[in-house]
């Protein structure tokens, strides 16, 4: 199930809320857990068993670490290995055998290929479980003895399927005691509507343009190629940020406080800054649990470079089981090294920095979104004018029909609307206007959902 669907908005969500608010405080966690399990099994009726196992595994490991504290390291290693094995097998086995086969093929050997379904959200819940185990080992908090509460941490529906990746440390207290108030409901619902609009009104619409243009990969003019990159650039941002925003809004409604995951990343004036504003929870996770344990930047330069490259290849790999994702990660790893060791010596004026960053990010997304290497090369070479025209009818067509949407997306990528909102909240008429506006936006989203039949969330299969 996804938040931007009629089933969630008009069936699951009202029922969940109703029961959640009606039951006494001690039962709220069970209710939420139950509905989270229903939410997950809606999309994954069979593989839910794997997630249940993950809960059991990590819960038991936690208890063992607490009870047999002299064996804590051993238990940690065991837990981490099993978690990584599950993730590795279900997500990467196919990719691994395919890659091995292409190498072994020259020797005439081939490993039999099996199509293994990728369970929804496995990357997210595995990373959350790992954060629990590792931080528990670091004694950052007491073990969670209540299996309901632990299960709730792993499966809580706002962040289960597509993040943000919530570290146990940050909601440990709220699992036991949180504030649920009408004020928070209002605050959260405003945020939720913002996220819903980003997904339904912006991402889905510009996504249509992105898909159509990408399909023309072999015959794009320069303008069309840049338009296609730009369309995807906006699509992935509003898709993912929209979903994270909805998750945060839902969290507030339920009494939880999740950290923000995106901070206007397209305003960045350097690639380093971009990665501090994009998918912040993932960056934090990799820093805490891979980069720092490897030594971070407190080691020799060679090792420092190695650490950065490892983290970035893993980041790329986390996004998908295919070589273009690894390359994408490496691309950013190298750019970050470049900025750290070379560009930092130069003082780039902000507008230049922004331009350079935006272009690099656009290119990065082409690498990320291409279905295969040849399509990627086709689009990139088209963007740089190799063997094609500057402008053609297709470009004109998409500028005329998609221009409005692109401008709207550009505006929404900046804090302009947020600033307007703050200003309006200063006086009564403004508040009235905002209230009505949000209702209208919600209605529009529902209208769009009724009429379109299909709007898959991009970061789903992670």
């Amino acid at each position: 199930m996804i938040f931007s669907s009629l089933t969630f908005l008009l069936l699951f969500f009202p029922i969940t809320l109703l029961l959640y608010f009606l039951v006494p405080n001690r039962a709220k966690n069970i209710v939420l857990l139950l509905f989270s399990l229903i939410f997950y099994s809606w999309g994954e009726p069979v593989y839910i068993i794997l997630m249940l196992y993950s809960i059991l595994l990590n819960y038991v490991c936690g208890l063992m670490m607490d009870k047999y504290s002299d064996m804590r390291k051993h238990i940690l290693i065991f837990g981490v290995c099993i978690n990584l094995f599950m993730l590795g097998f279900f997500k990467y086995a196919g990719f691994l055998t395919e890659s091995l086969n292409s190498v072994l093929g020259t020797f005439g050997i081939s490993i039999p290929q099996r199509d293994i379904a990728l369970p929804i959200g496995i990357s997210f819940y595995t990373f959350q479980a790992l954060s629990y185990l590792i931080d528990l080992y670091r004694e950052k908090f007491p073990v969670q003895k209540n299996i309901i509460n632990f299960a709730l941490y792993i499966t809580m529906f706002p962040q289960l399927i597509a993040g943000p990746i919530v570290r146990y440390e940050s909601i440990e207290k709220e699992l036991k005691h949180r504030i649920i108030s009408l004020e928070k409901v209002g605050y959260g619902s405003l945020i939720f509507i913002e996220g819903l609009a980003m997904k339904v009104l912006l991402a889905n619409q510009i996504g249509l343009v992105a898909d159509e243009l990408r399909a023309l990969a072999g015959s794009l003019s320069v303008t069309s190629a840049w338009l296609s990159a730009l369309a995807y650039f906006f699509q992935i941002y509003f898709d993912f940020a929209g979903y994270s925003t909805m998750a945060i809004g839902l969290g507030h409604i339920l009494g939880f406080t999740f950290c923000k995951n995106f901070d206007y990343p397209y305003l960045s004036t350097s690639v380093t800054e971009f990665w501090r504003r994009w998918h912040m929870s993932l960056g934090t996770w990799f820093r805490e649990y891979v980069y720092i344990p490897l030594g971070g930047n407190r080691v020799s330069t060679i090792k420092h470079i190695r650490n950065i490259l490892i983290v970035w290849m893993l980041t790329g790999l986390w996004h998908g089981a295919a070589w273009n994702f690894v390359l994408w990660g490496l691309y950013y790893g190298l750019l970050l090294l470049f900025e750290k060791f070379i560009l930092s010596k130069i003082n780039l004026p902000k507008p230049i920095g922004w331009l350079y960053t935006t272009i690099l990010v656009l290119i990065g997304w082409v690498l990320f979104s291409s279905e295969n290497l040849s399509q990627c090369m086709q689009i990139l070479s088209a963007m740089f004018g190799i063997g094609n025209v500057l402008f053609d009818t297709t470009s004109l067509y998409y500028l005329m029909t998609g221009g409005f949407m692109l401008i709207l997306c550009a505006i929404c990528s900046t804090p302009l609307l947020k600033w307007l909102k703050e200003k309006l909240l200063h006086f009564a008429l403004g508040k009235l206007f905002l209230g009505c506006l949000y209702v209208v936006i919600l209605a529009l989203c529902i209208l769009f959902l009724v009429v379109q039949n299909y709007n898959p969330f991009l970061y789903f299969r992670f």
């Binding site: 068993i49 794997l50 196992y53 059991l56 063992m64 047999y68 051993h74 238990i75």
Partner: protein, 159 residues
Amino acid sequence: MKKVISIEIALVLLLAGIMFLLLSTKEPRMDVTVEEVQNTFSSIKGDIAIDYADALRIRSQLGINPAEHDMVVYYSSAVDAMYVYEFLLIRTDENSIDALQSTLEEHIATRLEAFRGYGESQTALLEKAIIKQYGNYICLIVADEPSTWLEAVKELLEV
């Protein structure tokens, strides 16, 4: 120490069991005969007016040459091209199965194009058509309740 190791072993075994459950696929029965398929189909057919097709009709209506495959059982309307109900079960070797999948998908797509905008009942039927593979078998069903017919096929193949 021992306690920890034994709990760990239990967890690993549990995972192995779960993975086995999730990943094991049943191989279909390889010795299904034409007669058995015919019998199964007669019992689920109901009052749909489709007949057993001979080699020639299989060739002309599906573009599939039955001599190239182990077993081909096909039911369709011999007389009325507007009557889109179909039942097909083929057993072949693993190399041909993917080509068959594309042939059948194209077949349904062509029919859909022919009826879209003109024949609503046919369009509705064709849109819920099922094409399913089980090992070396491939099955095509165009019916009011395709899942019912598919269940019968699954039972016959023992998957």
